[in-house]
Every structure is written in structure tokens, then in C-alpha cells.
Symmetry: C2
Subunit: 224 residues, 2 copies
């Protein structure tokens, strides 16, 4: 059974993809280059795709910098050492990002004849980003079946979100149990010139907290 | 009131935008370069945007050629002199195209603070393309409000489809009444090297039929 998985190079999408593979899906990985501030995430996606033995790895470029509105695509500083318990949507939110990503995945799925999409949204993102919530996923699933040729012909698309109720620690524990090598991944929103994680952006802080809670050392931070 | 309008350079989106403007919307035009086989459509979008005095005209590139699956993005011949009464979805259907386009429009609308999107889907497309039907539009509207920060904050997005129940002839009559200059537009799926319409693809045939039924000469076909 074919699936299209959105693969960013972060640890969430790597784990979501590995879980889908463990359920018997043949993976087609889609990495979207959307004008992120750095290419390290995209390089990580290539390493992760290779480790997952994906059937195909498609890169699609869509430049969201003209749209802006986010610290990840516009000239807005990435926040540091933020209190992550503050309610509200952080400025790293990219407007409509998961809608755009799932639309591209849907188009490719239709061409491949796949009916299953996999996205690594999770309970932590859920607290901040609107397009990581179960109601968003349900609405996209409803849309997919009226938006496509296959939908009109009576087929139904399924959006798999294997991480949606997990914490970062849960995800890491599952991944470690599956034998995943998180050294391949990249999480930092604003890495140094050599790609090293900054340690203070939301993504680094959430990753560190997840590894600490899981009782595992982050291999990215071990001396090579 | 701000609106984001998807502007392709064809006569439908030009007319839809003009109708929205006539209702008092300030227009922000979004043209998506998706790897169409030719640039004439994009050049036409620039002319149309200027004629409509849009507030901003944003070009977003997203290369759908890697996804393929359509005569407009892959190496599949554009059909000629097809019987347009044949039921079914034609091979010029680009998988998930309007989902991708509306997603980009939604992201930009959110950044601009616009709550209104305009798309020139119509009753003729409706007969063939799944993502031109009212049920698709309704599903996207439902999605928009759970996909975005503004939706979570209680705002609702509206997708305007002023042409959805019109035939091509109806559209042309309305446009002519609004004083639109259809010489600025481009419709052909597969123009000659100088940009001249082929006259035999679905889009040329529908355009010709529309002008004939409206009792108007197509200014594109008049000697300059």
C-alpha cells in the first residue's frame, strides 16, 4: 500500500514515516522547500529518506517568502528562551503551511494512486499551531475527497497522524524503540553557520525537553 | 475591504476580479507559476492586474512538474478538437490545483488581514474539474477557518465564486458590460511560439463558443 509522507528532516516526520512503514506502507516522501531560512532541514530530509528506504523522494519548491508573516519565512527574529507555557500562536507559525503542504501531498498522491497521506503533527505543536489540530486534519480529509478526481470516483483519502496525541518524549521513545537514528535529523529554527543547533529557539527547547523526559541523550549533541 | 484574488491571466479570473472590485473590494492579486508549459498566461496576468489597478500583485512559484499527472504540467499531449460533451475529467486536470492555489491565497490573506478570497471557477469547468464545484468550495471554506490563526480567533473566511453558475457566454457578457478588455487575456493551453492561440484545445474551443454565444467578437482574434 502506497503512502505519501511529508518529510521535513525533523524528528517528528521521521518518526511518523517510520511508524507508517512499520504498518506496511510503502513510502513516497515529499519535502517542501518553502524558503526556510536555512537548508540544513532539507539536507536532513535527504538523510532521513535514505534511512527509511523510501520508494521515491520528491522535492517541491514553493517560495512562501513573498507571503511572509512568519519568523521562518520573513525578516522577523526567531524567539529565544521563550516561556513555552504562554498561550497563543507563536511567531514561527507559517500561515496556512500545513494546508499548502497537504495540498501538494494530495496532488502527488492522486498521481501515484496513493490514498494515504502521513503527517507528523503532534500534541506539542497542537498547543500552538492551528493547522496541527485534529479538527484541521478532519477538515482536510473531508476536502480531499471532493477536491480530486479519485474522490469524485468514490475513493476516500486518509490523513494519518500517528503522533497527534503524543508528547515529544513519547515520540522519541517510540522512535528509539524502532531503532531510528535521530542524529540524521535537524530541528533548530535558526542554526549556526555550521548547522549546529542554537539551543534556545522553541524547536531546540522542545527537543531538549523531549529527550530529557524520555531519558535518552540527543545524539545530535554528543561529540562525534 | 481587502480581498485576495487568484489571477491566472485568463478571462474567467479577470472577470471574477472585476466583479469583486465592482462590489467594493480592494484587490490583492495572486498569480501562481506552477510550471505551466508557457509563460504567456503569466504575462497576461500582469496586464490584467495593471488594468484592474490591484493594490498588490504577488507571484508565487510552485513547481508542479515533479508531481505531473496533467497535460498542463507533464509530458502528456494537450487534447485537440475534443468532444466537450464527453463526460469525465479531462487530462488537463492538474491534481489538487485549486486546493494548492486556495491554500496559498489563504496564507497570504491571513498575512494581509483579508478574510475574502476570490476564485473564477465556473459552471463550465464544473462539468469537468472536481475542484471547481460548489461542494469543493464549501469544504475549503470550512477548512480555512480551522487552518488559520484568524480562524481560531473566531474569524471566518469567505470564498467568493462570482462565476460559478455562469456559462462562458454569461461571463463574457458581464465582462463586456463592465468594460473589460479581453484582449489582455490569454486562454490557450498550448499556444504557438508567438503566443497565438491554437484554436483547437479545450480552452480555445470553450472561449470561441463563449464569444459566439455572447454575440461578441473575441478581440484576441481581431487583427491588431
Amino acid at each position: 500500500m502506497l503512502a505519501v509522507v511529508l518529510l521535513s528532516g525533523g524528528l517528528d516526520s521521521y518518526t511518523a514515516a517510520a511508524l507508517a512503514r512499520s504498518e506496511g506502507f510503502e513510502l513516497n516522501a515529499l519535502t517542501v522547500h518553502y524558503g526556510q531560512r536555512h537548508a540544513y532541514e532539507v539536507e536532513a530530509a535527504g538523510r532521513v529518506a535514505a534511512a527509511l528506504h523510501v520508494r521515491r523522494h520528491l522535492h517541491v519548491r514553493v517560495d512562501l517568502r513573498g507571503i511572509g508573516g512568519s519568523a521562518l519565512t520573513a525578516d522577523i527574529p526567531v524567539p529565544r528562551e521563550r516561556d513555552l507555557t504562554t498561550p497563543g500562536i507563536p511567531c514561527t507559525y507559517v500561515p496556512a503551511r500545513n494546508t499548502i503542504f497537504l495540498s501538494l501531498a494530495l496532488g502527488w498522491a492522486e498521481v501515484l494512486g496513493a490514498r494515504d497521506l502521513v503527517i507528523g503533527v503532534n500534541a506539542l505543536d497542537y498547543s500552538g499551531y492551528p493547522d496541527c489540530r485534529p479538527e484541521f486534519i478532519a477538515a482536510f480529509e473531508a476536502l480531499a475527497s471532493v477536491a480530486t478526481r479519485s474522490g469524485v470516483e468514490g475513493e476516500r483519502f486518509k490523513i494519518h497522524t500517528p503522533l497527534i496525541t503524543m508528547t515529544k518524549a513519547d515520540i522519541i521513545r517510540r522512535g528509539v524503540a524502532l531503532g531510528l537514528d535521530y542524529r540524521l535529523t535537524h530541528s533548530c529554527y535558526d542554526p549556526g553557520p555550521d548547522g549546529s543547533p542554537c539551543g534556545t529557539c522553541d524547536s531546540c527547547v522542545l527537543r531538549a525537553k523531549g529527550f530529557a523526559e524520555a531519558g535518552v541523550s540527543d545524539p545530535l549533541l554528543l561529540p562525534r
